[in-house]
């Protein structure tokens, strides 16, 4: 009988600082994991926090963490060579099969980019597996941009729209909400195109509305939902919405179910 609550140790191999409060921790993990899945990261005395994988590489996973409270503050006290406790991966994650041979539009708001980053990576490494890859990523201001170095790489393989809500006059970034770009997308057949939307609740609401208005079909839209979680494994009840457990049945939902 397996004890799912017992965490195991993982070593921090590299820390990438995106902003003052958002770092990516590259840590050791052996085993299968999909983009969109999450781990329960813990530090004894401080507790656990669910964190999505933002990157997957042989024996290494990336966790991009925003410093907001008890556990995440303490994670930020750790550096290369230090250890974190993990359990997981949990949740369904994104199934890249759903997007193969389609025109794929990924819309990410802020830290919402982390859970889909693995999907962007996958198709930028296997460009022949999609008809088209478009990434629209929105951040509040230029200094909130995450994964800046990745954008240069992705730019070569995909159509990338990097936009900020607001910037200084002389900024080189495009200014505008992610939703503004959706009607202008050049898609061959919007009714067969697929979209993935991840970000804060309001951003996801407006973005999905815009996609539908532009002609995307409900069943071709996927979203990832965040809710308070304590166990991550269908027991504690905190993540339950109607008859759905976000931690088990999600966090990724087809829009027909996750609305």
């Amino acid at each position: 009988m397996h004890n799912e609550y017992m965490p195991y140790l993982s070593e921090i191999k590299e820390v990438i600082k995106h902003t003052d409060i958002e770092y990516t921790f590259r840590i050791t993990y052996e085993g299968a994991v999909k983009p969109g899945q999450f781990f329960e990261v813990s530090i004894p005395k401080y507790g656990e926090a669910p964190i999505s994988v933002s990157g997957i590489n042989n024996g290494i996973i990336d966790l991009t963490i925003r410093r907001v409270g008890k556990v995440t503050n303490e994670v930020f006290e750790r550096y290369v060579g230090d250890k974190l406790f993990l359990r997981g991966p949990y949740g369904n994650g994104f199934d890249v099969e759903n997007y193969k041979n389609k025109e794929l539009v990924i819309v990410a708001g802020g830290t919402g980019l982390s859970p889909v980053r693995g999907v962007v990576e996958y198709f930028s490494e296997h460009p022949q597996e999609v008809k088209k890859l478009i990434l629209i990523a929105g951040f509040k201001t230029p200094k909130d941009i995450l994964f800046l170095e990745d954008f240069e790489r992705w730019n070569k393989k995909a159509e990338v729209i990097l936009t900020v809500d607001q910037a200084e006059e002389d900024s080189t970034y495009q200014v505008g909400l992610v939703t503004e770009y959706i009607p202008k997308l050049s898609l061959k057949n919007v009714e067969e195109a697929v979209a993935v939307v991840v970000g804060p609740p309001a951003m996801m609401r407006f973005t999905t509305q815009k996609l539908l208005k532009t002609g995307f079909l409900e069943q071709n839209i996927w979203i990832s939902q965040e809710r308070k979680m304590s166990c991550g494994i269908g027991k504690c009840g905190h993540c339950k919405v109607n008859d759905t457990y976000i931690c088990l049945d999600g966090p990724v939902f087809n829009f027909t179910k996750g609305r």
Partner: protein
């Protein structure tokens, strides 16, 4: 096989069972009632058959035996974890039909929904259930309408009969023990309730649209979100993980899980100060629809077993069964809004 025992015979059986099991049953706690100056009936360990309170409903259910209010999962230092040991003895739980139906709900979540729960399973595997027959319903019970008034998956049943006790036994391992201490063998059918004072009707056509009804608003002010209705409910299973350490600067501590309530503040809080279901009426809606609607959508049968404990305990006299009975007009109301 059925048996009749004298009090002494029954106590001899219990004594033997206590070698192997901790034995839990509803017992009287002096001065511990829901309303001050009352004595409450709660679950606790017994040592003799007369400790059991046969003629009253227990205020809290048996569930804390399988899901302790606070349960240590493991001990930790900064870089090591050590699993908490399992209790050495198994347990016998005396409980009523509705509560034995509730065990099925606990099993659904803790053994089946997604992952198997290690801590629950290791207790559960060593628990035996002895059914307390019900001759009469208690106040607020509505088991008949929830179809939880009868059950045959018990290990044994017991009821008072004159100065002694009758038992129906399903557990092979106990057969010879019971035969050797009984006064005689006889056919025994555990009593069950066939009519209750309270009735509920869960309307057909109930859907998640019921969440949009105005009816829930009435609970915004009436309910004081104390969470007692969750804590007494034999089918509520929520918890929150918690780390504690033994001394302020020490590096040694434990991770626990502690019973949680969807009625109490903080249950859904997320980063940035966000929280879902801020109003008490919305929490009431979440609890009620879980008990009599969406649990069934997921698992195929209702979660609520009709024990009425939430009605018994509420300090604001909020009645869950009345609320269920309002759902009929809620279905009409949201139907009209949609039309």
């Amino acid at each position: 096989m059925g048996f009749y025992f004298t009090k002494d015979g029954m106590n001899a059986v219990l004594k033997r069972l206590m070698d192997e099991y901790l034995v839990y049953a509803p017992i009287r706690m002096i001065g511990g009632g829901a309303f001050s100056d009352t004595n409450s009936v709660r679950y606790g360990q017994i040592s003799k058959i007369s400790d059991i309170i046969f003629n009253q409903k227990s205020e809290y259910s048996f569930k804390e035996i399988l899901l302790p209010l606070s349960q240590t999962l493991f001990f930790f230092t900064e870089d090591q974890v050590k699993e908490a040991e399992a209790p050495k003895k198994g347990a016998i739980i005396f409980l009523r039909s509705c509560d034995l139906h509730a065990v099925k709900r606990l099993d659904e979540i803790y053994l089946r929904n997604g992952f198997e729960d290690y801590y629950y399973k290791r207790l559960r595997e060593n628990v035996k259930f002895i059914l307390l027959g019900c001759q009469n319903p208690f106040e607020n019970c509505f088991c008949v309408d929830m179809q939880t008034n009868t059950i045959d998956t018990y290990d044994a049943s017991i009821e008072q009969a004159g100065d002694g006790y009758v038992m129906d036994n399903h557990c092979n391992a106990w057969e010879s023990l019971l035969s050797s201490h009984c006064l005689n063998q006889q056919d025994v059918q555990p009593s069950h309730v066939t009519e209750t004072g309270v009735h509920v009707k869960i309307p057909d056509g109930l859907s998640i649209d019921a969440a949009n009804s105005k009816m829930w608003d009435e609970y915004d002010d009436r309910c004081i979100n104390c969470g007692r209705c969750n804590f007494v409910c034999p089918t509520c299973t929520c918890f929150t993980m918690q780390d504690i350490f033994y001394t302020d600067n020490g590096k040694v501590g434990e991770r626990r899980r502690v019973a949680a309530s969807c009625m109490v503040d903080g249950y859904t809080d997320v980063a940035g100060g966000g929280s879902y279901r801020k109003k008490n009426g919305q929490r009431m809606r979440f609890r009620v629809l879980h008990k009599v609607y969406d649990y069934k959508e997921r698992f195929g049968y209702h979660m609520c077993v009709g024990c009425g404990r939430c009605d018994d305990i509420c300090p604001e006299y909020i009645s869950f069964s009345h609320c269920i009975n309002k759902l009929e007009s809620v279905v009409k109301e949201v139907g009209d809004n949609n039309a």
